[in-house]
């Protein structure tokens, strides 16, 4: 049953060292505020799961939060590489990062299998690809009716899933719209869940068949306006493409990255403070 609480409390009570954690979002509604808080509270040895790891995971990896990542595409969307991710994989800095790599279709199906409590997912996949040679969690099974060969992989079952949504009501029911990605599946596949929201409203007034997560299927709801920055929240604010480009510079060099993280995240109390400090930095850079 959802408790409405602060993000700091939710992360403190629900995210533990060594957990398998999915912070999901498909370029829309990325839970940046929650990612920062996990870094701030110094979690370690996390197994990160995500279809599209981006800046938040780059930050977590660069700060040594993660020991492993299960994913299908890791980049800075529209810009290029994730330099901290590459540094961890190519040179083991600050700590080596094990990878379990899939295709998007397989990851999406693995989330579905997790939400549906199935022991494996099933798809027509990986024909001719080298990926299965390097991922022993991809197996092939035979259709009992046609003899066809299908790819199977274990479900994603996170200890904690963290997502960002547009609205919750005062009871903790959550509504999201627009590009909803795999977030519903990710929450339903997890043991625990944290959902940050743009707004807490009296009534959701959800349209019929909207993407609603009932409060009894959620662990914690936290009000974090702007909490998806630099990604966007449809109906609230647009994507800060400038920051994605800026990240390419910030993350290229280990020391520059560490200094930026210290100033903007470790030395700020919360996401609101982060946004204030970031605005100052951007002002200086612009000047």
């Amino acid at each position: 049953m959802a408790v409405i609480t602060t993000l700091a409390e939710a992360v403190a009570s629900l995210v533990r060292d060594g957990d398998t954690v999915a912070l999901e979002g498909f370029t829309h509604l990325i839970p940046s505020a929650a990612g920062h808080e996990i870094i701030r509270q110094g979690r370690r040895d996390l197994t990160l799961v995500r279809m599209t790891p981006d800046l938040i995971y780059d930050q977590m990896i660069g700060m040594g939060t993660a020991k492993k990542m299960r994913f299908s595409w890791g980049g800075n969307p529209g810009v290029g590489s994730l330099h901290r991710f590459r540094d961890a994989v190519e040179r083991g800095w600050p700590v080596p990062l094990a990878v379990q790599e899939h295709s998007h279709a397989d990851m999406a199906n693995a989330y579905v299998a997790g939400a549906a409590n199935l022991p494996f997912s099933l798809m027509r996949g990986y024909a001719g690809s080298d990926l299965p040679k390097h991922n022993d969690q991809i197996k092939f099974i035979t259709c009992p009716f046609t003899g066809e060969r299908l790819a199977a992989t274990p479900p994603v079952r996170p200890d904690v899933t963290v997502i960002h949504a547009q609205q919750a009501d005062r009871k903790g029911n959550v509504l999201m719209w627009g590009i909803v990605g795999v977030q519903k599946e990710a929450v339903l596949a997890a043991k625990r869940s944290i959902i940050t929201v743009e707004e807490i409203v009296e009534n959701l007034n959800a349209p019929p068949n909207a993407c609603v997560l009932p409060r009894w299927a959620i662990s914690a709801v936290c009000l974090e306006p702007g909490g998806a920055h630099p990604s966007y929240a449809q109906g609230y604010y647009e994507r800060d493409n400038r920051f994605y480009k800026a990240w390419d510079e910030i993350s290229r060099d280990r020391e520059v990255f560490r200094a930026w993280m210290q100033k903007h995240i470790m030395d700020t109390a919360d996401f609101t403070a982060f946004r204030r400090v970031l605005a100052e930095s951007q002002g200086q850079r612009a000047a």
Binding site: F26, T27, H28, M51, T52, F71, S72, W73, G74, G75, P77, G78, S81, L82, F85, R86, V89, E90, E101, H102, S103, H104, A105, A108, N109, Y111, V112, M123, R124, G125, Y126, A127, G128, S129, D130, L131, H134, E148, R149, G178, I179, V180, G181, V182, K184, E185, Y232, Q234, E238, R239, D240, N241, R242, Y244
Partner: protein
């Protein structure tokens, strides 16, 4: 090319856009494919249906998305479904006519590498990874690939096959059980390559204006086959160039505004 009124990458984008027929259902990768697919929609293919892996079906963006999940895609789509549904009901469901892909590296049989350069466990360069490409490449009715052509991208032997083209050539793809026809054209900044009907080896079948065969050979990591009846790519028309430049201008302004 100095005398030309357009750039090599404009030629590439226009040539790629031309391959997309009106009314086609196209699964669009981000970057060059998205630019080409939207140029097609804004010129000769107004009824093309663009599907993005993030969920939008029938997206009609007025400016190009910087990411695969920009709000513009959702706001202009006929509907937005979940990402699992896109891959399960629409791609695997067999509803995609054309998969439009980019690539970091490609080989003579149009196999694609977007995973690693060097050994997988100790990569020299860790690339972003597969994304939706392996299943798009396998399941779409046909595949179009657009990328810039040079010694770093056209590789004799890939370190990693992320997404299959024709594998070792011949009927290797059919034997691997892929329903889609596979890559029917690779469009670059130098020309257009299509697979040999029998060997399935990529063959230069059209040369962009101002480019020499030697330039293309020099930009290819293997001994490139050249078609006997090598065609000359029609230069971008005024309509195509105007539409493309207006699209890129709108895009720059929009993303500039966002950032401001």
């Amino acid at each position: 090319m100095s005398e030309q009124s357009y750039s090599a990458s404009e030629m590439m984008t226009v040539a790629a856009a031309r391959r997309l027929q009106d009314g086609t259902v196209c699964f669009v990768g981000i970057g060059l494919p998205s630019t080409a697919a939207n140029l097609a929609r804004l010129t000769h293919a107004p009824e093309v249906v663009l599907i993005y892996e993030s969920g939008p079906i029938g997206a009609k963006p007025s400016v190009l998305p910087l990411s695969i999940g920009d709000g513009e895609l959702a706001a202009t789509a006929d509907t937005v479904v979940s990402t699992p549904e896109i891959f399960r009901y629409w791609l695997q469901g067999g509803r995609i006519n054309v998969g439009f892909l980019g690539a970091a590296q490609i080989d003579r049989f149009a196999n694609i590498n977007t995973t690693v350069i060097g050994p997988y466990d100790k990569p020299k360069v860790r690339l972003p990874g597969a994304g939706g490409a392996p299943e798009i490449a396998a399941l779409a009715g046909e595949v179009l690939i657009v990328l810039k052509q040079n010694a770093k991208t056209f590789i004799d032997k890939l370190d990693f096959i992320t997404s299959a083209g024709f594998l070792d050539g011949g009927d290797a793809r059919e034997k691997a059980g892929m329903p889609g026809k596979g890559p029917t054209a690779v469009i670059t900044d130098l020309g257009i390559l299509t697979p040999d009907p029998v060997t399935r080896e990529l063959t230069l079948t059209s040369l962009h204006p101002g480019i020499t065969v030697e330039q293309v050979r020099a930009a290819t990591g293997w001994d490139l086959r050249i078609a006997n009846d090598l065609a000359a790519t029609v230069p971008p028309t005024e309509v195509e160039l105007t539409a493309l430049r207006a699209l890129l201008k709108r895009t720059a302004e929009a993303h500039g505004e966002v950032a401001a």
